[in-house]
Symmetry: C2
Subunit: 321 residues, 2 copies
DNA sequence: TTAATGTCTTTTATCGTGAAAAAACAGTTT
DNA sequence: AAACTGTTTTTTCACGATAAAAGACATTAA
């Protein structure tokens, strides 16, 4: 009777479970270390600890761990303020990519893989403990992930009981795009009303340039479009100056992120069309003509919705409980 | 330099900290027990365990604990299927109200009290550990609460660091009401399009009746309006058949819930006006005249926004960091 | 006297653990 | 057989503990 999202609880070993009580991974350090290595290439010496911290987005504590390791491995000579680069980093100086991920990222990826891998029908139960065991993490992290994830509208909690999967269905896509269209039309209108000296106009120019470059080299770089897409839409949404609108773009971005990874059919053609629509949209915004903006925005969103919809197979009308 | 929301970390004792490792409180049991006591009044005997479970919204395990205690305290005689009521419940049979609250409720109340008590300026840091200690709960519960609460747009997390209070400001209220107006206008339009045989029309009739009754007895029962308010707006929002719109009402409901508790100025007058607006709104919906609906909806939402705004003192332009 | 480094303290992130509650299974009664 | 009761297993919820990371304080160099 009961169906679980994480079924094949195949006794895959918990690869993380080394010792016990392994509190917290040091992925922040590892990731910052890797990024710091890339900085090394072009510099003869490194700046002060606080400056490095600001650059890498980490605390001084972490910066000092990085410097300590760099000294140990002979990358730099470190004496108080003097941090001289001794040699170029080799590929084996880097920590492996997979060790730099946040637990939240690991859990999300794992969860989404299961969700999109098929066999994840609406109404299924989600089992925290089972999910945690399969991914090899503690239950707390899974719980926190599910709570955070719930705002995407794909899962729902039954009061002091399990989570229920609502499914990545046609209905979901339609509800999502309905809101998206409301929000983006309003944001685009707000965008045109921004004063000429607002920095958004130069941001828009820059994005336009990048679109043109990508359009020219579309044959080889078509997969770089998704990042550009997000940047343009986020710029427009921000013009609304409304935190709920801005935050909602997280939902859209998440869905499209996985959608791009998943649906590779006619990717090049689709992206080529979308770039054209973006350029028209950008032109309209620059013209500040509300009518044109509205039309260009509607047109693009309509085709984006269509793309999303065609990638969702309509599930058989399953029995409701 | 740093300002914390939970400052007066006054050595108030942790009233909950009885022993140690007190895993989980049995508030589900206690609350269900109390509700079951009320059922006892009008019955000579109790139904089967599964039926009781469904009625109280708890599992059979909990039902059996309840029955066991009722037998112990001489409220019923229990032998297999026979659960005969022996006496009426006395007031000391009930568990104290405060023991029936969810941890989440306790934390929310405590947090909101601090937030609204003043001295909670935008930009303040929120300290999980301190908050947990003050409330007398574990850090995990506080973390989970903050994650859940973050969707209300009042707090924001700094990556691997603290939470920041964004403040219950005028800007917040304006952003909130902007979305509310978009969503409700759309929902109200969808409402009028619902077929005549949809159950919403009788729900609406019932609500209209309750509004009329309350209007008549407004002098004494004005504080019952907030519940009616939420029911009407939720009914309308549901017509959108869009989970994001429906879910967003949680944000509105939360804000208005605390707003009602907090701003008692001219409560009677305000509610009286609102009831009038609601009745006009309901009439408009029943007429299915889109123009009328739009006007009535706009009018009511405008005055609701005004009420909310006047209750928020504009904070001094504080220095940004 | 400003801004860095060196050191120490506090907070966050994550885990394992155990009680409460749910859910599954097995045995009875109608 | 269907629906209940009795029993056992599983899952959720909440805690304290601990390493990672942030942050504060003290000291030193420019």
């Amino acid at each position: 009777m009961e169906r679980h999202i994480a079924l094949q609880a195949g006794r895959r070993k918990r690869w993380r479970a080394t010792g016990q009580g392994m509190s917290k991974s040091n992925n922040v350090y590892k990731d910052a270390f890797n990024r710091c290595l890339r900085l090394l290439d072009e510099a003869r010496s490194l700046p002060s600890e606080p400056e490095l911290g600001a650059l890498l987005g980490v605390s001084r504590t972490t910066v000092r761990s990085i410097l300590a390791r760099m000294e140990e491995t002979g990358l730099i000579a470190w004496n108080k303020r003097a941090k001289t680069v001794l040699r170029d980093p080799r590929s084996d100086d880097f920590f492996p990519e997979e060790e730099t991920d946040t637990l939240a990222e690991i859990i999300e990826r794992s969860f989404m893989r299961r969700l999109l891998a098929g066999g994840a029908e609406a109404g299924m139960q989600i089992n925290e403990l089972e999910l945690a065991r399969e991914i090899g993490v503690g239950t707390t992290s899974v719980r926190e992930f599910l709570i955070r994830f719930s705002r995407f509208g794909l899962i729902e909690k039954r009061r002091n009981s399990h989570w229920v999967l609502k499914g990545f269905t046609r209905a979901f896509a339609l509800e999502l795009t309905e809101i998206r269209e409301m929000f983006e039309l309003r944001s685009a209108a707000a965008f045109t009303a921004l004063p000429q000296d607002s920095p958004v106009w130069s941001d828009l120019d820059r994005l336009e340039g990048e679109h043109r470059v990508l359009a020219r080299e579309i044959a080889t770089r078509f997969n770089e479009f998704s990042e550009l897409d997000e940047r343009l839409h986020r710029l427009i949404h921000r013009a609304s100056r409304n935190r709920f609108i801005v935050d909602f773009y997280d939902v859209i971005a998440m869905i499209f992120h996985y959608h791009y990874q998943w649906n590779k059919a006619q990717e090049r053609e689709r992206n080529e069309v979308a770039i054209g629509e973006h350029l028209a949209y950008i032109e309209a915004l620059k013209s500040r003509d509300l009518g044109k903006v509205d039309a260009a925005c509607r047109k693009h969103l309509k085709s984006a919705r269509q793309t999303l919809l065609t990638s969702i197979p309509e599930s058989r009308p399953s029995q409701k409980n």
